[in-house]
């Protein structure tokens, strides 16, 4: 291993305690044999200490009152079901009985539950061997901008490579009369995973929930602006983990 490579990452990983076993032993031997590596290592450690030292006092400062107040504010009640109920009541009141029935018919697709819509999208598209997506992963930036625009709120196409899933790409879907997005991923065994994303008209936030249809499992949730549903042939725990990882990355 030459010094260039050492400088680039391995020495940093060693200084940060990220190497173990054989890698660590190899690095220790290299360091013992190379004065240059020892100098570099010392410089990395000094810089790390200096960075730490420049901010170490912050944690001892008196916490500003506004931050304590923010943390102590009473938790507002969340009306998970209220917007749906309000919407249903509004339809009844506005339309009268006849109008209500007509509305119900027109909205029947959009009113299918989120898991049902997500399962259907998986069943139609994830089985496509040659054309699972409209926009390939190579145009990820475009895909992200386009779908964000169409579903009406920005989101980030999550990178799930560390969970074993590679992005194939995505497509636009008709979700009732509204646009929705579908992201398609694949693991090494060609097993597909889809993420259904659509606008959250109700605006209600709900936490992760799990539903099953045959072999398929979905983990879905609602954020303020968007609803998400993961679908795949995985265990509920695996789906929840994937959803959790992606959840933190959607906002990015």
């Amino acid at each position: 291993m030459n010094m260039k490579i050492l400088q680039n990452w391995a020495l940093h990983a060693y200084a940060d305690g990220e190497l173990d076993g054989a890698e660590r032993n190899d690095m220790e031997q290299l360091i013992a044999a190379s004065p240059e590596a020892r100098q570099e290592l010392a410089a990395i450690r000094r810089q790390k200490e200096a960075v730490k030292g420049s901010f170490s006092g912050v944690a001892d400062e008196v916490v500003p009152a506004k931050l304590l107040a923010a943390a102590r504010r009473p938790l507002s009640r969340r009306w998970g079901w209220a917007p749906n109920l309000a919407a249903a009541l509004a339809l009844l009141i506005i339309g009268g009985a006849g109008g209500w029935l007509a509305s119900a018919r027109v909205n029947s697709v959009a009113m299918a539950s989120l898991p049902e819509r997500a399962f259907s999208a998986y069943e139609v598209y994830a089985v496509e061997v040659r054309h699972p997506v409209e926009v390939p992963a190579s145009e990820q930036d475009h895909l992200q901008a386009w779908l964000s625009k169409r579903v009406g709120a920005p989101f980030k196409v999550p990178d799930l490579a560390d969970k074993g899933y590679t992005l194939l790409g995505g497509r636009l879907l008709a979700d009732g009369a509204k646009p929705a997005g579908l992201l398609v991923y694949e693991d090494a065994a060609k097993k597909r995973l889809t993420i259904f994303v659509a606008g959250n008209a109700a605006g209600n936030e709900i936490p992760f929930e799990i539903e099953r249809r045959g072999k398929l499992v979905t983990c879905f949730w609602r954020d303020k602006d968007l609803v998400y549903a993961f679908v795949g042939e995985n265990s509920a725990d695996d789906m929840k983990q994937l959803a959790q990882a992606a959840h933190d990355r959607f906002e990015g």
Binding site: H12, A13, V51, E61, V63, P158, D159, I206, Q244
Partner: protein, 169 residues
């Protein structure tokens, strides 16, 4: 301990992390406040099996990154060449070591992706894996951002006539 009390106990660390990310005291405290408010609104999304600290750091960091994206001024990465060569190097006390201000100023010049990784490792002692989970980029990318960032930081300090970090005793 109630959720809110757990958050309160972590505020000092959140403030340090925020200061490391954005430097400015008032902005950093705004970030922490935003993080606390979001955490309380989204408390139903918190998985108690994960450490609260890691979750709060993620919320804080997401707030920081989206702020950077919306605020054009801070997306303009200041050029290292904007600095006068050897600027301030004549002050004798600098021979004694690196001042806190010098180092913070130098960090301000780094691209956000490099700065945040340096801070997460040095200040918050997060592992590469934890940083990868938090930022959504592979561990290899974390490593390359870190080594490039540290090299750049060293370069900035040397240009400012501060040999301390390189000098071998």
């Amino acid at each position: 301990m109630a959720f809110q009390d757990e958050i309160i106990a972590l505020i000092p660390q959140l403030r340090r992390f925020a200061r490391g990310l954005c430097g400015d005291r008032a902005l950093a405290d705004d970030l922490v406040q935003d993080c606390i408010e979001r955490a309380l609104i989204k408390s139903h999304l918190y998985d108690p099996a994960r450490p609260l600290k890691a979750w709060l750091y993620t919320v804080l960091r997401n707030g920081f990154i989206s702020g950077v994206r919306h605020d054009k001024r801070s997306t303009v990465v200041k050029s290292i060449d904007d600095l006068g060569v050897g600027e301030g190097a004549s002050l004798p006390e600098q021979e004694q070591g690196l001042s806190v201000k010098q180092l913070r100023d130098a960090l301000d010049l780094l691209p956000v992706q490099q700065r945040e990784v340096i801070v997460m490792v040095a200040l918050e002692e997060l592992s590469y894996r934890e940083i990868s989970d938090m930022t959504g980029v592979p561990v290899g990318t974390v490593m390359s951002r870190l080594s490039r960032g540290r090299e750049a930081l060293r370069g900035i300090l040397e240009r400012r006539g501060q040999p301390y970090l390189r000098r071998v005793k």
